[in-house]
Assembly symmetry: C2
Homo-oligomer: 254 residues x 2
């Protein structure tokens, strides 16, 4: 027979918890002293271990009470299956939340801040179900081109590839004040050019279509692209032209 504190020390559960378990008749002490202090035995310790184990599986105390009730009528097969279903649902929910959070953090990197208007846009992107998005994607692109779309940076992934796109866009925005000819800007544009070719190859037809959509906020939204401000897109296009011309001049000279 050991005291409530010893049980607490041995198992790590709080004294309050043990009292609570007694209160709800989940785990009653083996006996009490004359003064009313709870005393626990080996049996109770084992039962407590079982309770704790079942708790780690996510069962509620009520269910645990049923499971451990001595009638032994608990249907393990069904019970475990139900619990598994629930846990899997929760897992999926966590995964979705994780992706969305990462997306938000990425957009934070780009914009430097998140404003609520932007969140409203995101909500719309979010609520526009994948189905509808696919319809639009089918309208604008053929199957080969749709393959290429999957290579685009996806705000809900955090693979190194997407991250580089995002940081490039962020850098572009950061240096926007310095004009299209600034070396920092041209460096970023150069990297974007290289990365585009690495990713999509020399697929001019696709590029033109894509750029047309990218430049239209409405259409971008339709196919589920991350919203980039018109201003930044225009700036990029101009900087891009400068870059192309310099490339050309370089070739003439070299």
């Amino acid at each position: 027979m050991i005291s409530i504190k010893d049980v607490s020390k041995q198992t790590g559960v709080s004294v309050r918890t043990l009292r609570y378990y007694d209160e709800i008749d989940l785990l009653s002490p083996a006996g009490k002293t004359d003064g009313g202090h709870r005393l626990y035995g080996e049996t109770e310790l084992k039962k407590l271990q079982q309770i704790l184990f079942l708790k780690t599986l996510g069962f509620q105390l009520k269910e645990i009470k049923d499971i451990l009730s001595d009638d032994g009528n608990w249907n393990w097969a069904k019970g475990l299956e139900n619990q598994l279903k629930y846990i899997q649902q929760e897992k999926e929910r966590m995964i979705k939340i994780e992706q969305t959070l990462k997306g938000l953090m990425n957009s934070l990197t780009i914009d430097g801040s998140i404003d609520l208007l932007y969140i409203n846009q995101l909500i719309q992107l979010y609520q526009q179900n994948a189905e509808k998005r696919e319809i639009y994607r089918h309208r604008y692109f053929d199957s080969q081109e749709r393959e290429l779309l999957h290579l685009l940076p996806n705000m809900n992934r955090d693979d190194p590839d997407s991250l580089e796109w995002i940081s490039l866009i962020a850098q572009l925005k950061k240096h926007m004040g310095q004009g299209i000819k600034a070396p920092e800007v041209q460096r970023v544009v150069k990297r974007i050019d290289e990365k585009s070719i690495e990713t999509f190859g020399y697929n001019d037809a696709f590029f033109e279509k894509f750029w047309a959509i990218r430049k239209s906020p409405e259409k971008s939204k339709e196919i589920g692209l991350y919203p980039i401000e018109q201003e930044l897109l225009d700036f990029f296009e101009q900087a891009w032209e400068v870059y192309q011309n310099e490339q050309f001049d370089g070739e003439k000279e070299g």
Copy 2:
């Protein structure tokens, strides 16, 4: 200005929820009728959308209140990072629970039922940390052999391979009453033999060591093997001898 019920219909949240949000000053109606009925405008609808979005990210209402408070001092970077940490922890927890549940379901398939004594064994296996297990595995096996150990059915996986092992053990147990020579038993033993060879190859030395440990409940526990009753192990060994002899006789005759 629209009624509380219209807001409820448009957004899917309950009337009670809207009243509650009003109560905790999270979302106040734009105004009230003379009689006290709540009236909402476009602004409130948008804010509600934001609230719902943040709620899907797992934020608590209090945090959402801070986030949406008009002072705009909320630290998005830190807040999102904290939330991401929390969500990732939860995700990991769900994954662990899922694995353990699957393990339990597998053992249910083998034993036909789960008794609490068995759970106590599992608890011990569970609490015996991976570190200690590795020490024992190092004591008994060399590095090549430890590789082979990873191929053993793992109660916390549900790949088809583990599942077949488990169903084989379950079948063996089921037919145990029919004696070692029963065709059902011999069929199972044959499949176990084939599968062992498929999995581990003809690695006699490893097999002998492994079987010696497998037959000792204590040592099995040390290296973290799923506990199988002595009786079933003995039965298998005898059935196995019968199988080997029949193989040999078959070769002589054939």
